[in-house]
Symmetry: C2
Subunit: 523 residues, 2 copies
């Protein structure tokens, strides 16, 4: 870091924090502020370059920052109100930590001299923040506000990345900040890979054993896909994507890489007796532990690491392909669209119709398994698109991530393929999409139940009685999705048949003036 | 504690936990379960006596448990899905901690043997839970599940009370629990007061100085009000309620006790030069710290404690009244209803119309200052009612608390006087009200802005520019409240004039088949 100037006083601490953030590349702030953030709110009008976007609920803000960071590789900021405001954003920060998304959370706090009185909103912010934060600092003096902000952003950008949480008491925001150094953020180091590991993997691949390449993180970029496809074609290695990638490219002639199955029985079968090469993926473990099944989906001694998450797994794959002298793959012929007969909507027809309809370079935020799995299966044939999934299992991520992706990439169309139950956790996303005129197409899978819980009751050997059954049903009353959309100023359509969904999708793709919701009423 | 039997095997751990909870008085479970809570969900059909109520979002569950506990003085349970599910419920648990409401949070976790693999939903639940929990335990062995559950409930009920968080790994829920002691919960000790303090206060009150009685907690019961009124009449002492009581009785001829003003200037002026007797209230501190104003609203040497929160402040007041030989007060004449002229709705006319309309023994959950303050000012003239306020400042409490109060008191009518901005944080409450056919009347103050933030910008000396202004406005697009209500199966009305609100309230009071929402469109 080098120091290039001194801050001219009088600038408030709030101005210094925002100037530092803007200088380090933060250009969006997803905000749900309160009284202790008012100087920061005021400073947004003094510091150019930061777009403030209001969320009605903090989980919308943190999820949007996750979607933004996944697409941009640069952090958005959130602006949250003390411990309780942060608390409402924690679930999506948990997901962002699993996705290793860079985020700068700015959390206001009581005036430093007021904290000791334990006023109603006082809480242990650190205890709340630590589990989801790659970096945490509560500012104790206004001397280093610029440095504090830059440190947070750098920690969010550094490997393994994730949310950085900076707590700024309101008095330090308010007061003229003391003269202080304004170091520039050190640019993040370009990801690299380890040539020796490439050599080890090359030896393994060549010895004729059954090999699986398990791809995650940067291995799921376009370059990673292409290199993995070359390796598979040249060696017979099988390819899997991790089950819930933060971001994966797909379609447009890229190799069709399946996700590792969700349930452990199938995942274990898929990896059985194979050498599992980890390319940007963590060692695969069961999502939940089930009695009688191992947590590790592949034995530890079957794993070989090519590149860890955060490393240049895509470049490592290219290097491996090169060392294997794997030929380039011919451009595959364009896939014909799926032929989808008229009839009631099913998860499979939904997946195929969406796959058919995707415009080039669409972004699809997927939350919920009912239509999510069939869509990803189908979408290898679609135009090139980017898929974002729920990385941490905290529900309510899909709509905010779509929102943030739309802010990050105004030139791309964004779709949210979203189950009805999970949509409810951050339903307030609709309003921000309407307010910001974001052309997000929300496809709500309306099956009026928590399908996964019905499955899991069965896996637990539970024949649900009336209580258990009622806790998995959402049909009394059913949600009226078009009315909910209208409530937030979002136009909506409903589709119960394949023909209706086809027409709704065609209409949605023409509709570029803001969000649109399509309720997909499954039989 | 005594041990009265051994549990007959084979009962699963989940059954044991629910049996223990039911035996200790838990009869409602506000649930948003996931995979790691399936055995507990199944056990709800095996253990009689616990009503399971589904929330679409965990903040609805925890806020409802708060409302229930405030009205019943007994804990409801919540059922939450690992760290992220708990995280979504933290904000209202923060409020419940400030309200000292007994709650038993049951949080499922990964199988004990699966935790070490750091699967996607793994998190540091303890770090998340501690700031809002009066008691925390993560079960490490199934030998003492009954005792663990009873310990949690007892901690929630003991002074100072609050949420108890019991984390139960799914394998301990699933397996047949080992034989174990089934101790009964020790009944909570009846609150008491300290006679010596009554004597000290008596001496202070009699020496002719200006005295303020600051009432909180049990001092705001009916008996506390009546005793405080006698003391005030006999001695000239002035009475204030704490600003945000967990529960206060009001109307029906009870003494009209003002709330201590919210902003510190007015609160300091109200208490200036007085001896401040704390009856169930904490020493008054400013809600937020403002430069140039003290955090303590009354100097420490002006405070005299009659009873602490959790103690029998009402009985202490009665004893004080007796020692002062304060006469009983005559029954006041019934107050005539307010005369409210036809015209557009204002906060004052809203407060008066609601006050006029309240049926006897109504419960009013108040969140949001715009109409909240005018209503409480007006409602001294109303029929007897109970007011529940936002104790901790975490937004999104009003609707869930009304929901929980309606479950707790099916024989009483429940009203939620709720600002539009704060309603959005837990808007999913509407669905559970509809599903459970709870006759809650929701009165949404629709002013399409965060009024408090506009005030606080002004107090910060900030003339809002376009960014700051936009972060305080909710008018683009405006919420369509009747549509949102319809989306969740709740009938709705809208009122823009005093006459329309009068009619809507009359209709609402006739409507007893479930919830009803009234959008009050302020000029």
């Amino acid at each position: 870091m080098r120091t290039n100037s001194l801050l001219p006083p009088p600038s408030s601490g709030a101005v210094v924090v925002l100037q530092a953030a803007a200088a380090a590349g933060v250009s969006v702030c997803f905000a749900n502020p309160g009284t202790t953030e008012m100087p920061l709110v005021g400073a947004l009008d003094q510091v150019p370059g930061i777009r403030a976007i209001l969320g009605l609920f903090e989980g919308v803000c943190t999820g949007a920052a996750d979607g933004y960071g996944r697409m941009r590789g640069q952090p958005a900021s959130t602006l949250l109100h003390l411990g309780p405001g942060l608390a409402n954003g924690l679930a999506n920060l948990h997901n962002a930590r699993r996705a290793r998304t860079p985020i700068l959370n700015i959390v206001g706090d009581h005036a430093s001299w007021h904290l000791r009185y334990d006023a109603p909103l006082t809480s242990d912010i650190e205890s709340l923040a630590r589990p989801v934060s790659a970096w945490y600092r509560s500012v104790k003096t206004p001397e280093h506000l610029w440095q504090d902000t830059v440190d947070g952003i750098q920690a969010a950008m550094a490997s393994p990345g994730g949310g950085a949480t900076l707590v700024v008491p309101v008095d330090f925001q308010q007061q003229a900040a003391p003269d202080q150094a304004r170091p520039e953020a050190t640019p993040a180091t370009a990801p690299a890979f380890d040539e020796a590991r490439v050599g080890e993997v090359q030896a393994v691949v060549k010895d004729g054993r059954d090999v699986v390449l398990l791809l995650g993180d940067r291995a799921l970029s376009e370059r990673g896909h292409i290199a993995a496809g070359r390796i598979a074609a040249a060696t017979g290695a099988r390819l899997f994507s991790e089950t819930f990638p933060a971001r994966t490219e797909r379609g447009g002639g890229l190799p069709d890489i399946d996700r590792l199955p969700y349930f452990p029985e199938a995942a274990i079968a898929a990896l059985k007796d194979a050498v599992v090469i980890l390319a940007g993926a963590l060692p695969p473990v069961a999502y939940f532990g089930y009695e009688g099944l191992p947590s590790e989906l592949a034995p530890a001694d079957s794993l070989v690491t090519l590149a860890q998450p955060g490393e240049a797994a895509d470049l490592a794959l290219e290097r491996l392909a090169e060392r294997l002298q794997a030929p380039s793959l011919p451009t595959p012929p364009a896939s014909p669209p799926y032929s989808v007969p008229d009839g009631p909507l099913t998860p499979q027809t939904v997946g195929r119709l969406l796959s058919n309809a995707l415009p080039p370079h669409a972004i699809v935020s997927v939350e919920g398994g009912t239509c999510g799995y069939p869509f990803v299966t189908a979408s290898a044939r679609a135009a090139h698109h980017t898929i974002l999934t729920n990385t941490g299992g905290a529900i309510g991520q899909g709509l905010p991530v779509a929102l943030g992706a739309a802010v990050a990439c105004p030139e791309r169309r964004v779709f949210a393929l979203q189950s009805d139950g999970s949509a409810q956790y951050t339903i307030q996303s609709l309003w921000t999409m309407a307010r910001e005129r974001l052309p997000v197409v929300m496809l709500i899978t309306s099956n009026r139940r928590y399908g996964i819980l019905q499955t899991e009751l069965g896996r637990n050997g539970i024949e649900p009685g009336p209580h258990a059954r009622r806790l998995t049903l959402l049909d009394d009353p059913p949600f009226d999705w078009p009315a909910l959309a209208q409530g937030y100023g979002v136009p909506a359509l409903a589709a119960s048949t394949t023909e209706e969904l086809r027409q709704a999708l065609a209409h949605a793709i023409e509709h570029t003036q803001g969000p649109l919701l399509i309720e997909m009423r499954l039989a």
